[in-house]
Assembly symmetry: C2
Homo-oligomer: 164 residues x 2
């Protein structure tokens, strides 16, 4: 079961971050069928329910051309998540794993990322499938799926560097 606010057996908490290194702006809101964390999918599915992404001003003009991409990467702020656990017990059975070895919403910077299918765009509202977050989740970023995007900028030296 999804955590509400409790700390479970063997989990390790550090201080909740209180001093920030920089700030983010919420550029829109996500609408989904899920109003409780006890209902959300643990991971979105591309055949899941249609959800909406609504972009706020002054960022609406930044949608220009987005309908060319069948799949988008969406970053959002998991606003109900605690941020202070370094070890977590997803199954609540005493076994713990590090936060970075999990895709749990509980993380120092609770940023969710999903790949979604773009169903349609109407002005500043997108319909998409593949999300897993609460209704009302704040949006941080939208970009073409990396596998569908070819950079337009001219090549640079780093583009050709292969590994040692």
């Amino acid at each position: 079961m999804v955590r509400l606010n409790e700390i479970r057996e063997n989990e390790v908490a550090v201080g909740e971050p209180s001093v920030f290194d920089t700030g983010v702006v919420f550029i829109g809101r996500i609408g989904t069928p899920w109003t409780s964390r006890l209902e959300c999918p643990r991971q979105g599915r591309l055949d899941g329910p249609t959800c909406t992404i609504e972009i706020s001003e002054p960022w609406r003009a930044a949608l220009d051309g987005i309908e060319a991409f069948e799949q988008l990467e969406v970053l959002y702020w998991l606003h109900e998540s605690r941020r202070d656990l370094v070890k977590q017990s997803p199954a609540n059975d005493g076994a713990v794993r590090g936060t970075f070895a999990l895709r749990s919403p509980v993380r120092p910077n609770p940023i969710g990322s999903s790949i979604v299918k773009l169903v349609s765009r109407e002005a500043y509202q997108l319909k998409v499938r593949g999300l897993d977050c609460l209704d009302g989740t704040p949006l941080l970023d939208l970009k073409p799926d990396r596998t569908l995007f070819t950079p337009i900028a001219p090549p640079q030296r780093g583009d050709f560097q292969v590994g040692d």
Copy 2:
């Protein structure tokens, strides 16, 4: 060529965000071979140079178990990017596209995301391949690649919901 600070023909700027909705903490630093934005790859490649990700305290314990995953998703803060452009001209040729139809580092929340191959872990330092960012880039998050991760938490209603 990568933008340094200029605004190009037909690009559209709005105000640089100055009031933030929430804050992020830098949980570590990324080491890469690129010390100038004029050299960085426009997109990382899995056969690219080996880079390092070093996690800071108090987040080091959160790495526990990460070595089980061959590929990771990395989120980082593109600290040298301007944040105020809604339309951009990547080729600097007068043609513009919306910021959300690009994977440019210039965005309202300049969060970079890459899929990397985990080469090795030594204590709180990871060696990875597939990054595209400047040396010294602040780290925001690390998680297993979504395609390799099976949720451990018990299923919820949303897991079974398919679309309308």
